[in-house]
């Protein structure tokens, strides 16, 4: 079986998740290798979740929130942005290419942008190749 990039996406309920729903109601097509997890606000997204997704084998992690200034909870997206920037620095240091972790603002009306985003990220991940998480750890020493 050939390499099929896997994307775990965290979407805020009010803008990005609604935007992704709109992509569906508009019958837009995008790559099927994305799995979406809904949170109420992008400000809820923690580094733990991102690391967990990478550990579980995600080739890419996508975070989407409301555009700056449009947050349903006023400023959650800014908090998300700050955490994202820091965690991106960390994952980069840990040998996970920066492009594997992306943050984009998607409004509730941007179904098309969401579909394009998924397709573009898929292309990026195809170029980057599979995540090294599966080849990096010597699992034979671990307890059963």
């Amino acid at each position: 079986m050939s390499y099929r990039p896997t994307i775990v996406a965290f979407l805020c309920n009010w803008c990005a998740y609604t935007g992704a729903d709109l992509a569906g109601t508009s019958r837009l097509r995008y790559a099927p290798n994305i799995r979406i997890i809904r949170v109420m606000c992008s400000g809820r997204i923690e580094p733990t979740f991102i690391l967990k997704a990478f550990q579980q084998g995600a080739d890419g992690v996508l975070i989407c929130g409301c555009h700056p200034g449009d947050c349903h909870y006023q400023e959650g997206n800014y908090k998300c942005l700050r955490r994202f920037k820091l965690i991106q620095k960390y994952v980069d240091q840990m040998g996970i290419e920066k492009d594997r972790l992306q943050l984009e603002w998607i409004s509730a009306s941007e179904g098309r942008q969401f579909a394009e985003l998924v397709n573009n990220m898929t292309k990026t991940l195809l170029i980057l190749g599979p995540s090294k998480i599966k080849s990096s750890l010597e699992v034979e020493h671990l307890k059963q």
Binding site: T48, R82, R83, K89
Partner: protein, 328 residues
């Protein structure tokens, strides 16, 4: 302490062993000072390489489950560490990961930012004091005419003890606070107040800020981060509020906040609070929250001042973290 000899209770069999460790944990046992005598009074030390001369084969010969308590300090770096961890697990009723290295990987765990190859290259070829023109590297087995010489195999990764064998309890700290050891030892000896298997003992549930005497407010918005030497510490304001990253709020209490008392920010050797699956992620999340900027460029500028996040947030815990190692 059950030191009343008039009511004799069979002494427990105690083993103390070190894997990839600095020896500080063993010293911390001695740091119990006069209380050590109580320990000795209640326990028979059956194995303690730093203090007693017992061969591995003697330990291997012991019946299974014959040791009541093993305090294993140090991470698992090589095949010897792994072998002894497995042997001691088999021989012990209760196996405790003692200290930050056994618990989370500790300082040796930072080697997971490199690979075995990179480490050997540095150690045997590149380091300033090395003269090794033939680029000789250690091999596990080497034939000489007297026979086969062997040394333990150096693993690519550093492991926490729990990743190799099942562990009953974890005592965090680099090294663990001696007072906590006494408490845990007492509990194990008496069997009273022992938490369920797999728990962290010898530490508090609340994180370090709770015991910290520095002045704390809600003013935790930071425009620039400083490394401790970059700033004149006023010795009374919360380190974080001065812009110095202190792992205190994300690190279990129990150490007595000794670093902060000594005017040095907490580095997190006691590990994450209960329920946190990753030792550094919560702190990173909190620090991200504290960045006082909304524009991407300004945020980048502030993050520039956080040098080496992996070494900062996972100083004692890289092997025990979610990612475990750098992906190479």
């Amino acid at each position: 302490m059950p030191s009343d000899t008039s009511n004799p209770k069979p002494k427990i069999k105690l083993a103390i062993y070190w894997g990839a460790a600095c020896g500080g944990c063993c010293v911390s046992v001695l740091d119990t000072h006069e209380k050590l005598l109580d320990i000795v009074a209640n326990a028979d030390l059956v194995f303690w390489p730093i203090a007693m001369d017992i061969k591995y084969k003697d330990v291997e010969a012991m019946p299974d489950q014959s040791i009541d308590l093993t305090l294993f300090n140090g991470a698992v770096r090589n095949s010897e560490n792994k072998h002894m961890a497995e042997v001691l697990r088999k021989k012990s009723k209760i196996m405790v990961a003692y200290g930050a290295c056994a618990y989370m990987g500790g300082i040796p765990g930072l080697a997971n930012l490199y690979s075995k190859d990179l480490i050997f290259k540095r150690a045997y070829e590149e380091s300033e004091s090395t003269m090794n023109p033939d680029k000789v590297r250690p091999v596990v087995q080497f034939e000489v005419k007297e026979g086969t010489l062997s040394i333990p195999e150096f693993f690519n990764d550093v492991y926490t003890l729990n990743q190799i064998v099942d562990i009953d309890y974890f005592i965090p700290g680099c090294p663990p606070q001696s007072e906590r050891l006494i408490e845990v030892f007492t509990a194990i000896v008496t069997g009273i107040g022992l938490p369920p298997k797999g728990s962290v003992v010898g530490a508090l549930e609340k994180t370090n800020c709770d015991g910290c005497l520095r002045k704390k407010t809600d003013n935790k918005l930071i425009k620039r981060f400083y490394r401790p030497w970059e700033i004149q510490d006023d010795k009374e304001t919360c380190f974080l509020e001065q812009g110095v990253i202190c792992m205190g709020p994300a690190t279990r209490g129990g150490c007595g906040v000794r670093c902060v008392v000594g005017n040095s920010p907490c580095r997190g050797c006691y590990g994450p609070p209960p329920g946190s699956p990753d030792p550094g992620a919560k702190m990173m999340s909190a620090i991200g929250t504290m960045i006082d900027a909304n524009k991407p460029e300004e945020i980048d500028e502030i993050i520039e001042t956080i040098v080496d996040p992996a070494g900062l947030f996972y100083r004692f815990s890289l092997p025990g973290s979610i990612l475990g190692r750098k992906l190479l």
